[in-house]
Symmetry: C2
Subunit: 259 residues, 2 copies
């Protein structure tokens, strides 16, 4: 979606490492209207295209795909891709239709570009899980690779939306990462149940000034189902969404258990 930052830069570098020696690295920049809800920030979404172009040039990107909306969607467009399981929880609850728009545009980008590998940031973990599911279920011949979240020095996950925060909200936003990190440590502590860790995480997030908690969940990182106990044989991830005024930030953190 553009408004590229150092998180995107690491995705581009990862794509270069994964590409064949004579392969190409393609970046798509398209603020996709079908993944925004009617009350969401489509018109407000940052579009600093000249800076994006510069970053792509610096990174030696071979092709920058920057279509117009009418080049992507016919006025009477009526076909779409949807995912009806992982899309319905977490961000799907407050953003109905969002992941249908994501699935549709990602499959279109795959159809147009025909990549062998596609790199997605783990910051949007639910999006990555939904895309992986779509690729599995529709047997799309693209290898999906995630890349760990890149953070500012104070721990805030890099996001194009960070620049929309007020100075006060920007000062408070790193407390999301602090709360998640504390919860991840607690998960490893002997005898701590999931409910207790989650309650304590919610308490920390609710204590952030000028922030409204959207959700905080401890989930199976593949199915996104809420964890019932730490004995389940799955990889665990903490998932959080917080609003500062009209700016909604999401973040997530893997939980590592001592062996």
């Amino acid at each position: 979606m553009g408004a590229l930052h150092d998180g995107h830069r690491t995705l581009i570098r990862k794509a270069r490492r994964l590409a064949n020696p004579n392969g190409s690295v393609v970046v798509s920049i398209f603020v996709n209207p079908t993944q925004f809800g009617p009350k969401e920030d489509l018109s407000n979404y940052p579009r600093p295209f000249d800076q994006d172009l510069l970053l792509c040039r610096q990174e030696g990107v071979d092709l920058l795909f920057h279509p117009s909306t009418s080049g992507m969607y016919a006025a009477d467009t009526s076909a779409m891709v949807r995912e009806d399981s992982l899309s319905k929880v977490l961000c799907g609850t407050s953003r109905p239709g969002h992941f249908d728009g994501v699935c549709t545009v990602v499959s279109m980008l795959f159809n147009i570009i025909g990549p062998e590998v596609a790199v997605f940031g783990e910051k949007d973990w639910q999006q990555l899980a939904v895309v992986r599911r779509m690729v599995r279920d529709l047997q799309i011949p693209v290898k999906i690779v995630g890349h760990p979240t890149v953070r500012e020095a104070d721990g805030l996950a890099m996001s194009s939306r960070n620049r929309l925060l007020t100075p006060e909200a920007r000062r408070m936003a790193p407390r999301i990462f602090q709360a998640m990190s504390a919860a991840a440590l607690e998960c490893g502590a002997q005898g701590r149940g999931v409910t207790r860790v989650r309650d304590s995480l919610i308490k920390s997030l609710k204590a952030i000034p000028s922030a409204d908690l959207d959700y905080a969940e401890i989930v199976d990182e593949e199915t996104l189902a809420p964890l019932k106990s730490f004995n389940q044989k799955c990889k665990v991830r903490i998932m959080v969404a917080v609003r500062f005024g009209s700016v909604r930030l999401i973040d997530n953190l893997p939980v590592k258990f001592p062996r």
Copy 2:
């Protein structure tokens, strides 16, 4: 879906003519459960695989793709392709979800096989229109080619479902084609309005013994919207669905106007 007949044979031959000199012709045979409704004839659908294999061998098919259901769909499959405009009329009215299943399996087959060209029979005209729309809207890099309906000597459109007809129904079924042909001629007759032609078509179809009319429409062949007058600048097609007991037959015919 297999149960191959001479209609399919012409599709295979067309694919061979369209293929590159060193290209391959692939036939898929998969009775796709997701396009059958809960009360439809999935278990009853004919599956004469050995005969199908023989026909493919005779025609020099390079690859016969015949997956299992579990090879296509994971038990917890949750992603699908849908089309929400052309799918909602005609057969879509009595078969809700049918075209979602068709779109999903066709896009999967495209993802797995990666064809340059795909040939579809015009007998399933609505399916062809929906697939064209899906390919347009999702920008799928496959050229869709239709092939005119192949008919028995008495005019009945070839269909895998014909073998399920009772002898009595089989004798009556050609009257579908006769009624459509008469209507197509009437369309060209000066001063005949769409409503009058359609009424007369419906009357002829309702007069077929042991048949129940599902629908009879005169439509824009691309959008499938009912025609309002014969002066519209679109190609016109007569679309019909008739039931003989539990066997549902569909057919269609293009309308040619005198210049």
